[in-house]
Subunit: 232 residues, 2 copies
């Protein structure tokens, strides 16, 4: 590695800026939503953008992402994953900015927390139909959705989007909203049982019709499924 070969990139000048950007998802109004902030400063002032900010010199990338997450959405202790690093020259018209994109999943119940710290220029938008976004954030968002869908297909990550206790129908609907497709009820329930990642709470959601049993995810039930191999 050439970290010491200062010949063609002296370490003391001409460094790019490094930021973290976040695609924070939740399920709201029966659809996948993403958190956006309205930019106050140029460039793209007044335009919606993914939350994010500069990486401080003494914090890791994940720490920076969690700090931004806390500052922008008021949530802590949520699922966070590094996504991809976007660094094309020109993606920020002012200067060279390399951004390490992350995606985060927050629970529906947190929406109320968020509303409390509402800074007026922060809002949830339908992830599959967002407004025009600043910089290359549309590209980052699309990439994040792709990764989220993929992740949910082969892991049991949906519980990061659900309240502590939930019905099987709510779980299925979460998958349907993220995957943007309909699932078969019986097949879904059988597969959930086989995965054995749920436990019954004994309580029921009593509502308009027949009460539904409430479940929660078992502690430490990550349930990652092996990909089907192309070759045996």
């Amino acid at each position: 590695m050439a970290e010491s070969e200062s010949a063609y990139a002296p370490a003391h000048y001409d460094r790019p800026s490094v930021t973290v950007d976040l695609a924070i998802f939740t399920v709201l109004h029966k659809a996948l939503h993403v958190l956006l902030v309205k930019r106050r400063a140029a460039p793209f002032a007044g335009m919606w953008a993914l939350p994010g900010g500069f990486v401080h010199m003494d914090e890791s990338l994940e720490d920076a992402a969690r700090r931004e997450l806390r500052e922008e959405s008021g949530v802590e202790d949520v699922y966070l994953e590094q996504l991809y690093t976007f660094g094309d020259p020109g993606r920020d018209p002012r200067t060279r900015v390399i951004t390490v994109a992350h995606f985060a999943l927050v629970r529906a119940e947190h929406q109320r927390l968020r509303a409390a710290t509402d800074a007026a220029a922060v809002n949830w938008f339908p992830a599959y139909d967002p407004p025009a976004l600043a910089f290359d954030h549309r590209q980052i968002l699309d990439y994040a959705i792709t990764r989220l869908r993929y992740k949910l297909e082969y892991t049991a990550l949906a519980f990061e989007l659900l309240p502590e206790e939930f019905t099987l129908t709510e779980l299925q609907e979460t998958y349907e909203h993220v995957l943007n497709e309909q699932l078969d009820k019986r097949n879904f329930r059988r597969k959930v049982q086989q995965a054995s990642v749920l436990e019954e709470t004994g309580r029921r959601r009593v509502g308009e019709h027949r009460p539904a049993r409430l479940f929660r995810f078992r502690e430490g039930a990550v349930a990652e499924v092996k990909a089907r191999r192309l070759f045996p």
Copy 2:
């Protein structure tokens, strides 16, 4: 996004350095190998490390990675993929260095090309049993191997490690070396046929025993297999 909120990270000083590092793989001597360079400068002088270098201000991350790939291994036009960005403070003892790690696959035939430009302090090492590495490069290498294995399990990427024409046994051995496990010959061949990513060249590898038919990958045959879903 807070790229403009210069309050807590002015854009004009205190920026980290950004590098690209490369895990370049090939199959050699019936095992997966990775390209390492011997460091000349401090820190970790004399130690082996992944090739890499600073990102120039006017080039994209991929361009930087391809430039380093060309400079260090003399190969062009190979498979290259961004892996992950490592940025813990302290991973470089001198200063804050954030590195965007990539992995690359080069063909066995390129090894000779490489030997020609040999700079004495560049060499192939067994990927599953490398020497001690500088910085956090062991961690990066392990991550790259994990990703490579995973990628090969559900894509037809092995041809990036093979010469233009190859026998089915050579293809199977490539998979075995990367996955580090034995595969069943009949099942492997059936699955290759089903994937229909190969075409016969009509030529044969004539050698010590019964000549084997030579194949090549069909143009544009990416053959990505859907992951087995956890939920239907």
